[in-house]
Symmetry: C2
Subunit: 364 residues, 2 copies
């Protein structure tokens, strides 16, 4: 690990692992700050590659390509949390990688993640590891025998690698089917799902956006709404939780923290994403700084900006054929359209999102 | 000229003539709408090229390169008004070019421009053409013999190709020195300089941003402030003038209209720019839609968005070494930084701008 550098000056190059829409929006935010963007991704064409000054096409286990990439950039960040540990370690030996390896370690494994949250004194759903069918049975019983969810410990996203189970046999069968180490989580009877997207700078300053209220469809985020309808003390608690996690991980950058608000009014950490987050896309049009610029500022060692919101906002993801509604959305006077440049609208594929703005009903 | 097309669908490619910062900011606005950007410019590296999906390096009189460029794009626009007439005509025969050839004709020549404004019933400074030294003497006398400004009819910008003159001899000498057809303009004793950046869509709908008040330094725009301190009837008149010009030219796209407010409270058209305009950069952070997105919408045949402002704003151009102040600006909580990615901070070179936002003191 190189020593903490001076802030990156305009003209520096920020390398981003991953070529998806999050990398694209990071690039669009980095360019006006004077940074050049170098995307590292396995694909020849990618949403982020379209707006990057340079592209390296390479696999995440190609040490030679990663080393050459590191030599051409001044700092490294990533747009997805499943960066292989060896890749992150290699890069971290050559360049400042933000957020760091520690956050990746915690976020990549659901058991490690939940254990870390508990160690921070934060609430989570009840859980037990279920690395094989035998452990799955024991885990089911240990959670009290109620309905539960089996999830692969690694690489799950958008509801993939998840199964609801109602018996020890179900649980064992699900783990056998996934053929991967799993976690069993007790079902939380939650009232709503919210998230806090928060940033921490190299000076330790934290700027958290307001909590958003999220709804899902088919396991994929469908809508995020701000302001969330929360009691002030619940919003404050959500911020406190996000701050606790950022500080415990000595984190630099933007993080998405997904929370369940249970029927007793308690907040449980569902999962963390050590990157910009879909539920923070509303910040692009409703705030004085977007989560993308904020992340780039943190990665560059620049001061964060106040995470102030000046409009109410409903973010709607455009999944698959939803994008065919573009002409109607383009005609909505209060709709801000963000498309990802993907040619093929496959079912379940995130094609873009739209932020609908409304006069502010309340401010932080 | 091809017949008026359907709106461009996301996935289409918009070609932009010119690779400067205006092209760069147009590209950054076009990408989230799903458009691919193809920059045509003589330079190998350019501010706009950095964020474009494709680049053609070519001269503006290279018919073969222009023809190949046209074949690869679905529509054409430009980021500077000095597109050679033959270039515009060639492209207009192959693709929809917006704003059109007519606007370029009017805006490229100061005599044609002022004559057109007069024909629309709009006020201008007194003027006379001075294509050679002899005409310059006659022109000086025809304006009444007071102080005047000699300007080249074509290709002037940022105060280049201008000289203040106090006698017929001065005027003749200036025209001889410029060695180009000139215009002589009577000095207007103006109180302030304002501009209106306005857009017209293919449906004829006009959306004008609020007038900005502009101050110059060394002939280059230094600051634009909104709201301008204007009586409501003056602001309304500025909008009326912009609308008159857009309609008379059957214009599609964004135009910058520079106006003098004289000591009698009358508005005179100084010049028009058939493109996005430096004095409209404040719209990037203070409005629900930027001039850049608005222009792309017009070019694509999409509906315009309401040109609503939600914050007060002071735009400051960062000229030459001004950009060395980036770290201080990055630490200002209300400053939105926009750098153009230019490596060398030469004197007089526009390196970027900063929009400083303030709570809205008044709304349209």
């Amino acid at each position: 690990m190189t020593p903490a550098p001076q802030p990156l000056a305009p003209g520096a190059t920020i390398g981003i692992l991953g070529g998806g829409q999050l990398g694209r929006m990071l690039a669009l935010a980095a360019v006006p700050l004077g940074f050049h963007i170098h995307i590292y991704a396995p694909e020849a064409e990618s949403p982020a590659g379209e707006v990057a000054a340079r592209i390296t096409r390479g696999a995440y286990d190609d040490a030679a390509a990663l080393t050459a990439f590191a030599a051409e950039v001044d700092a490294v960040t990533y747009e997805f949390e499943n960066v292989p540990a060896a890749c992150a370690a290699l890069l971290a030996g050559l360049r400042q990688v933000r957020p760091g390896v520690k956050a990746l370690d915690v976020a990549q494994d659901r058991v490690t993640e939940k254990s870390a949250m508990r160690a921070m004194g934060l609430g989570t759903a009840p859980f037990a590891k279920a690395d094989d069918a035998g452990e799955a049975r024991a885990a089911f019983e240990s959670l009290g025998g109620g309905a539960a969810i089996v999830k692969t410990r690694r690489m799950g996203y958008d509801g993939k690698g998840q199964a609801r189970v109602a018996s020890a046999d179900d649980a064992a069968a699900a783990v056998a089917r996934f053929a991967a180490p799993c976690i069993l989580e007790g079902l939380v009877s939650f009232e709503r799902e919210i998230s806090v997207v928060a940033a921490r700078g190299i000076d330790g300053r934290i700027e958290a956006f307001e909590p958003a209220e999220n709804t899902h469809k088919d396991g994929i985020l469908h809508r995020s709404v701000v302001p969330a309808q929360l009691k002030p003390q619940v919003a404050a608690e959500a911020w406190r939780i996000a701050g606790t996690i950022l500080e415990a991980l000595d984190y630099v950058g933007v993080m998405g923290v997904e929370l369940f608000l249970d029927r007793d009014g308690a907040l449980l950490v569902n999962e963390i994403a050590p990157r910009v987050h879909n539920s923070g896309h509303w910040t692009m049009d409703a705030c004085a700084v977007s989560q993308f610029e904020q992340h780039i500022r943190a990665v560059a060692g620049w001061p964060l900006k106040p995470a102030v919101r000046f409009a109410d906002c409903e973010m709607e993801n455009l999944i698959g054929d939803d994008v065919l509604r573009w002409a109607g959305i383009a005609a909505e006077p209060n709709a801000c359209l963000h498309l990802y440049g993907k040619a093929e609208a496959r079912p379940g594929r995130k094609m873009g999102h739209v932020n609908r703005l409304f006069p502010p009903s309340g401010r932080r």
